[in-house]
Symmetry: C2
Subunit: 396 residues, 2 copies
């Protein structure tokens, strides 16, 4: 077991949500990057009690529709009500959002103390168009500060907007993201977000390739990874497709990696993917000797499967699958205890079930909790991913 | 290198400050506990841009007075002005404080989702008396929920109030802490805070022992560690003195550990100590088989040096000194680069120095930054402390 960090000292500014309980947003991303040796400055866009801050944007209703083994079980999930601000179900979502002004203020505080020497920026969930714009301003400022040193600043942008055909942010967030995309070095949309940003419906590999080409050429985004692609619902695998454009003409170099789809809904996997990518891409680009180039873009002669982006994605996916498999096993053990225990506290699993009101809700919450990604208990899988996946070139 | 976590799954609620840049408060404590395998729910009492949120409470002026090698160098440090809210120097401290109501709201959110299965609570900096009281209410609620299962909840309370003879919180914070002490299992005052809470001036080992006895018997606090004791300024060592009371009569069992005082000012070491203590005390108490007893108190027959508290403190201090030594070496390398580089950006060290205004301030901030505790780069020292220190019984 090698205990040397994979990358030299790296300072990352991470702008995303903070939840007290549960590994999503910055709560996930900060730990993953720190565990791999990065100094992380966490600028939190929201401070909520738990995972279910997503209630408010309607995401949970969406999550529920994607659960294969459980049915929507409490009335919070009616789509229209779940999007309304004052539904009583919301009582359990507590906390505050940072305004765009508060985000700017915190960043100004860093500037005034000369604490802007970030090597990388990772940005995730922003609650509205104004905060997306504020993140864009911060990114441009950090880019400007690195002008004289190409490659000394790199922005990984996860344009969190929706999934499975539906937005869970206000519509004005879409143009806000479009207005800041041009400054990003790597974006990590899911299939729906790639459609939304490119305007190209994705129903096949060729249309996906067209969308990636469009994002490369229109917004000059050098690196793109589209996560969680499932073109047919029955497919037992998820595809991840990425590309780094050729520096001479911005044409894509497409690669694909397939991973088994696990029969479990996890939260925070997008944040985990992004955080691991920060570390592994830096590692791969250092190995390839391209970190002194603008946006770490490999020369035209490098093939799709030899791209640092492809090498990094292989490692990221291996770590993720290893941790998620263990999470699923632990969840199954907990849920077995929950079923055996019936009502009352199942002391061995620590899962509270039953009770005299809202049993459906309790059960749903217990199941959600049991599937919390077990990232702190499996740090070794972050450090030492097995060689599991190999990128292949995507010919379309 | 053993990569198994030292303790079984442990859920910790951590209530303290969050800063974006710099390892203090929850930013330090959360990472340390997660790195050692704990699931940490971080409830942040303040959200500030940087370490220097302490400006506002006057602490920085205090820090500066304790720097051996550098002088106070910018006008922020005038004591009276440093305590005033609108001093221009404060422009660089940006962010928000959580109100007591916001803290209660977030906790209510957890309760309503049945997310209160915490094994331990670690509480640190609270900005005022109301938030201290809010933390006390949360702790009592968690205690109440564990009523039927002795030892299933344990509260480590760091009563952050001041240092070196001076409060850096409002005076009403002192009675607020006194009113919640009785619910704590372990408190971690420094010498000044132990004086303040006990009302007993500490100028010698016997007076320190008297203060600890008083805290054991008056507030029924089972475990106490007084950190950073320096009874004579010229002493090249710091003493750490702890005690777990005898269950039969609440008399102290005092032990002492001495560590070399490092010639460098570090921030966040109290938070690091507390976080490591959460893990190592749980580990030692599990080994001793006392975690099913109320407050994990060993029987009367266990001597001071055999206490799990003493064993835990030995490991905590070893990890800390190992990390701090490496931090100091790295700082010295950076400051050497800063001196050689003169004005302008010293690219090798990443430390910004010079500039056309406020050079003294820049230099001070660069020095502070260079001394940031290098905790993410030295996780192995958290996992595997050397056997460096041995507790001895304190006879007074």
């Amino acid at each position: 077991m090698n205990f040397e960090p994979a990358i030299p000292e790296t300072k990352v500014l991470a702008i995303a949500s903070h939840v007290v309980y549960g590994y999503v947003g910055n709560t996930m991303a900060t730990f993953v990057m720190q565990a791999l040796g990065c100094d992380v400055a966490a600028l939190n866009t929201v401070h909520f009690s738990m995972l279910h801050f997503y209630f408010e944007s309607g995401l949970l209703e969406l999550l529920c529709s994607s659960l294969s083994s459980t049915q929507p079980i409490f009335n919070l999930f009616e789509p229209t009500e779940a999007c309304a601000g004052n539904h009583t179900g919301y009582r359990q979502v507590r906390g505050t959002k940072a305004s765009a002004q508060e985000i700017r203020d915190i960043y100004d505080g860093l500037c005034q103390s000369y604490l802007t020497d970030f090597d990388m920026l990772l940005s995730g969930y922003s609650p509205n168009a104004e905060t997306v714009q504020a993140v864009g301003v911060i990114a441009r400022d950090l880019r400007f500060r690195s002008t004289n040193k190409p490659g000394s600043f790199f922005w990984v942008l996860d344009p969190v907007m929706g999934d499975q055909g539906r937005l869970y942010v206000n519509e004005d967030v879409v143009p806000a993201y479009k207005s800041i995309l041009r400054d990003a070095d790597l974006i990590l949309p899911n299939q729906f977000e790639a459609e939304t940003l490119s305007g190209i419906p994705i129903h096949s590999l060729p249309s996906l390739a067209t969308a990636i080409s469009m994002l490369h050429t229109t917004y000059l985004i050098p690196h793109i990874i589209v996560t969680s692609i499932r073109l047919t619902p029955s497919n037992p695998t998820l595809s991840i497709i990425g590309s780094t454009f050729r520096p001479s003409n911005h044409t894509p170099r497409l690669f694909k990696i397939e991973v088994p789809a696990l029969p479990c809904f996890f939260s925070g996997t997008g944040d985990m993917f992004a955080a691991l990518m920060v570390v592994r891409l830096r590692e791969a680009c250092l190995e390839a000797g391209v970190t002194d180039r603008k946006s770490w873009v490999s020369g035209d002669d490098v093939s799709a499967t030899e791209l640092p982006l492809a090498k990094a994605t292989e490692k990221v996916l291996a770590s993720m699958q290893m941790v998620l498999e263990k999470t699923m096993q632990a969840r199954d053990r907990k849920l077995a205890g929950l079923t055996e225990g019936g009502k009352g506290m199942s002391s061995s699993s620590g899962v509270e079930v039953g009770g005299d009101d809202g049993e459906g809700k309790r059960r749903y919450l217990a199941e959600t909790k049991a599937a919390e990604v077990r990232v702190v208990r499996n740090v070794r899988d972050l450090w030492c991913p097995e060689e599991r996946y190999e990128a292949c070139e995507l010919q379309v």
